[in-house]
């Protein structure tokens, strides 16, 4: 303590000198200041190192068996001899704050160290009080260093608790004879259950809905394709000799989008080999169904595949409707 006081006293003295210097700017000789700069930097560096050292070795500093804290303080004291400016003095003060915090903590520990209280022996005595059966595992090596081995009876903690109870003025709590009283309002629990139920329902409903949508979507396409094929075959049977104009077949004069859909669905019929598209004598596309028996003979995989891209703009559609004088759709909307 005395040591530290001397340090802080010298801080005060130096501080005063510092002030005097600052008050008298004439004394600030440029050359001298430049010469100081190197040593000042050095001092600052050393202070920072000391502080770093303190922080990195906290436990070591705190240990009652080590003199590290005193040594560090002495070192700082030596450093302080070279301090002449406020900047270094501030670092010294900063160091002192750290050191005194550590000193305080160390003093607190000392207080505990001085008394004979030893947690380890307290724990040992507690185990004895709990009625530990040390013979049980007497043969086994103490694997967990220093920790007592042995068997604790089931009522060990109750025993401590009953003993402890006599040192407390604890208000005994009462209990209802018909089971314990739940202080949590049951309303909350109901709410939670209801929420959970809702969640489950949602979970259940969602995938079901999705499935349905997927199915119906796929089915719709399939059904539509079959339906259109049906129309194609009917028209063909009505007049087997004249081929059906592709445009007449797919164009819906009332709806451009229906027209596009029709072309889309007809492409499946073509792909699956149920119908063919070819050009007639006027170089106009016609569509004709492939007879079912000849279809069976065709080896699907060996058939060459032709792909065609038909572009049809809204203008084209209008023009075709006008040119071919289509008034009724051959494929009625479903």
């Amino acid at each position: 303590m005395a040591h530290r006081r001397s340090v802080s006293k010298s801080t005060v003295v130096e501080g005063e000198q510092q002030q005097q210097e600052d008050d008298d700017p004439v004394e600030g000789d440029m050359a001298e200041m430049d010469g100081d700069d190197g040593t000042r930097r050095q001092i600052r560096h050393q202070y920072r190192e000391l502080m770093q050292n303190i922080q990195n070795n906290r436990e070591d500093m705190l240990s009652s068996r080590s003199n590290k804290l005193t040594e560090t303080l002495e070192e700082a004291n030596k450093l302080f001899a070279g301090v002449s400016r406020a900047r270094e003095a501030a670092l010294d003060a900063q160091f002192l704050v750290l050191a005194s915090n550590l000193g305080k903590e160390k003093a607190n520990q000392l207080h505990a160290d001085m008394t004979v209280f030893d947690p380890t022996s307290f724990a040992e005595d507690l185990l004895s009080f709990m009625g530990i059966n040390r013979l049980e595992n007497a043969g086994s090596d103490s694997e967990d260093e220093g920790y007592a081995t042995g068997f604790l009876p089931g009522d060990a903690w109750k025993k401590v608790g009953m003993e402890a109870d006599t040192y407390f003025r604890r208000a005994p709590t009462f209990h209802y004879m018909l089971g314990s009283f739940k202080t949590d309002p049951p309303v909350v629990r109901q709410k939670i259950e209801r929420q959970r139920k809702n969640k489950e329902e949602e979970k259940r409903a969602m995938p079901a809905q999705l499935k349905k949508m997927n199915e119906s979507h796929q089915e719709a396409t399939e059904k539509e394709v079959e339906r259109i094929l049906g129309f194609l075959q009917t028209y063909q049977n009505q007049d087997p000799d004249s081929p059906i104009s592709f445009f007449d077949f797919v164009i819906d004069p009332q709806s451009f989008s229906r027209t596009v859909e029709n072309i889309f669905h007809v492409s499946f019929i073509i792909r699956d080999g149920f119908a063919r598209i070819k050009l007639d004598d006027d170089k106009l596309p016609v569509i004709e169904p492939v007879a079912t028996d000849s279809h069976e003979q065709v080896d699907k995989d060996n058939q060459p595949r032709y792909q065609g891209v038909i572009s049809l703009s809204h203008e084209d559609w209008k023009e075709i409707v006008r040119t071919f004088e289509i008034t009724e759709p051959l494929i009625p909307p479903p």
Binding site: H111, F122, L126, G161, M162, D165, Y167, F168, F181
Partner: protein
Amino acid sequence: MTQPRRRRAGQSRETSVLQGEDADMDNDSFIQTQTPTQVQKNLAKHSSDQVSLKVGEVVQYLLVKDQKKLPIKRADIVRNVLKEFKDIYSEVLLRAKKLLKEVFGYELVEIDVKNHTYILVNSLEHKHEDNLRVDEGTAKLGLLTIILSLIFMKGNIAKEVTVWEMLRRLRIEPGDKHPEFGDVKKLVTDEFVKQKYLEYIKIPNTEPVEYEFRWGPRAFKETSKMKILEFVSKIQHKDPKSWTSQYREAQERLPAASQASGH
């Protein structure tokens, strides 16, 4: 006889209307600003049967709330029990306090003057032979007492690591499920803390963060440093006076206790 009483009741109704508005704005300050004369006036507008019924309800509420040993907030008493009787809050609580004392031997203690929280403490001396109270709380009390002992004997502060080291020697691992205590870490750092038996404080400037334990206000009310010293002495078969500094500290019981409840 009926005439003057009715007039008084009418008067108090007027004032209570005004206060009712106050209460909606700020329940707490309203209770604080209740003057004894106002309470007397307000008292007149409730029948004495109603008032004693409320007192009984408050007593029951306190007893039920105390089962979990959590501090009871004044605001909760007002909101859950008193309701329209809050204009005579102080009188009802006073009577409830008297009832608890006379019928149950309990003391209603305010442990937090700022936030107005209360606990119940047994005011009767403990008789050694009565062991009616063995329940699941008994074992927990044993654990708590050991921690309180460690804190006091170590100079009123114990680092968390020290506490766990101690408990490890007693076969308790903070991470494990204990057959008696379940999640011990939660019990010690949460339940005991919420019950105000312990304070669990972050140590400043620690990296990684470390915590230390101190006694909580309930510990000071339900037991004392001297009692805990007696416990330690009994376990260690020593005279309490052999721990010189702790004994000296425990003797200054009153100032120490008031100081502790102050922070």
